[in-house]
Amino acid sequence: MTTALDHVGKAKLTLSWRVRKQVMFLYEIDSDAIAAHVPPSLEAMEVRPGVSLIAIECLHYYSDHFREGYREFLEMVLTVAVQPDLSIDMPVPRFCMHAISVISDSPEFVEQEGHLLYTPTELVPGLRMEFSEDGGGVDIYDGTTPMVMCRNTHPNPPYDHKVLWGQYYTNTNGLQQGIWRWEGQMFEHMKAGDWGSFHPHPVFKGIDLSRIRGCYRQMMAKPETVTDVRFYHLGLVSDRAGSRRGE
């Protein structure tokens, strides 16, 4: 396998982003409460029997994406952790996530992500994120309506430079798959404590929020540094499976 920033194996770079602030919280949820959101050819990762993971990822992007002078913007991603495909020619993925819903306050972002990665992305003009000073937590609102409060439970995150690899799946145009690469200063932990709360919002449609059993793991990028995020879209899962079979 050859890996450079513009390709991974045979997969070419599809999108790249510079991120200013970012957190990802993974939450335990009863597996049967999330099963309907997992396509039949995928399988949810269970951290304990009967317990799967959903994730809330919040990103605050730097300016100048799309065109020079373009404003900073926000994205919130709701995913479920699924089993990876380790036959893909790439470094071993840390996580594999299937996108349930994505929201952003940027029309350009919504158009581009939907077009290139087939993510289920919707425009929420009132999307608002209040990151904590240490960058480890964030309160997410739609206008003044609270959506998710992500509270960092670690008193002193010691950030370290990391490169992470992962996979993503989307299902708006057949089951699509791809690779992501993340590089930046980050920290992750599983300290118990007051991890925040979920609040009813259309983005959580079809998920019984009362079945969320707690925060499993918290990941945070060092705020105000440059985090580099790249996507390498592979295409339809069925096409890859077919090519493996020689079809």
């Binding site: 304990r48 029997p49 990876p84 380790l86 036959s87 071993v92 993925p93 370290d160 992750e188 599983m190």
Partner: protein
Amino acid sequence: MKPRPEYYDYTYDMFIASIDGEQSEASRFSDWIDAAERDGVYAFEAPRLEGQKTMVHARRNDGTPLHLLNFSSYNYLGYGMHREVIDAAKAALDQYGLGACSSPVQAGTNELHKALEQQLIEFVGLPGRGVSLFSSGYAVNTGTISALMKRRHHIVIDKSAHMSILEGAQLARSKVHYFEHNDADHLKKILEEIAPTASRILVCTEGVFSADGDYGALDKIVPLAKSYGAQVLVDEAHSFGLCGKQGRGVAEELGVLDQVDYLVVTFSKALGGIGGAVITRHEIARYINWYARCRMFSCALDPAVTAGVTKALELAGGSDGAARRTRLQHNAAVLRGALEGHVNTGRSRSWIVPVIYGPENLSIPLADWLQRHGLDGSVMSFPAVPVNEARIRLFVTSEHDETQLQQCADIVRGAAVELEFTITKKGTP
């Protein structure tokens, strides 16, 4: 500075599954180990050349001979190498042969098994209870839980409980709930929610938790569970024979032994053998004998081990055991004392002394460093412990001497300086 290899950042969970049809998880996992072996840093699975003494000869995978301080075996009281225990096993081997060669409910049960059952009842001081023997400690939990609990029942498990309890619950297909580690308030909330409609509830916890070395809060959890009509299973794998006035375990020490419905013990720790048992009401033990599938459809405990652990139990119940327990407690305190203030030993209060070094990417180089400096200590990473709380797990035994305890502490402290996880380093978990 030389960049660390990519595979240092890999963790066990990354190879648990793959959705493709080619078993890529196996080939990628194998690649991981191959890479570490190629770089000469793979320190795991080094074969030992003798039994679990406090110093052991072993061989590194590249053939290099090793002579190691042994802090990675749970031969806590040294009975695995005790002359009388070995002689008892040898005698049984001569009389009964190598294996039991049959299911325990068919021809596999022999007189040695009956003697061990009786000895266990006497040791725990619970006359009238019954015993179900298993050929592994792991199987006690998977077999017992799946025999007794069914789909419409509820199992409530401490989040830090052993994988065998989780798998038992999975086999039972019951509704499973998890309470925060040792958190009686959280357990109470769960019981309040399920007790009004549940026909059967089993609460599962442990005497000593094997990753942290802390005690289960049995004095709170057991009475609470009973007050909601739940039954309680306590796995005393790492505490049976080791604490309490009579060596019966944490349940005895905390005064709740007679309230425990299923007392799970293992023979591979304090008794130095293999196998385990559940001690419970007589009729339930009989039921488990027949309905625990991994017992019914598996060979009975082998004769030599059965005789050996019976002898070890006899010794553990007398003055020899009492003296060894006293030494064990003393040695654990000595090691903790030599480490505290230098490295993070977490919440241990037992003979399992963790040294929490933090990031998983230290695990491979640290295991290599320790082995090259003469210490065999288990390295544990996520997902066995929380992310960024990777640790060396040191098993103290009654047989370590003061010099060995100090040498162990010196090597660990040296590693902490070399790999930068001393307690003063900013951000150390």
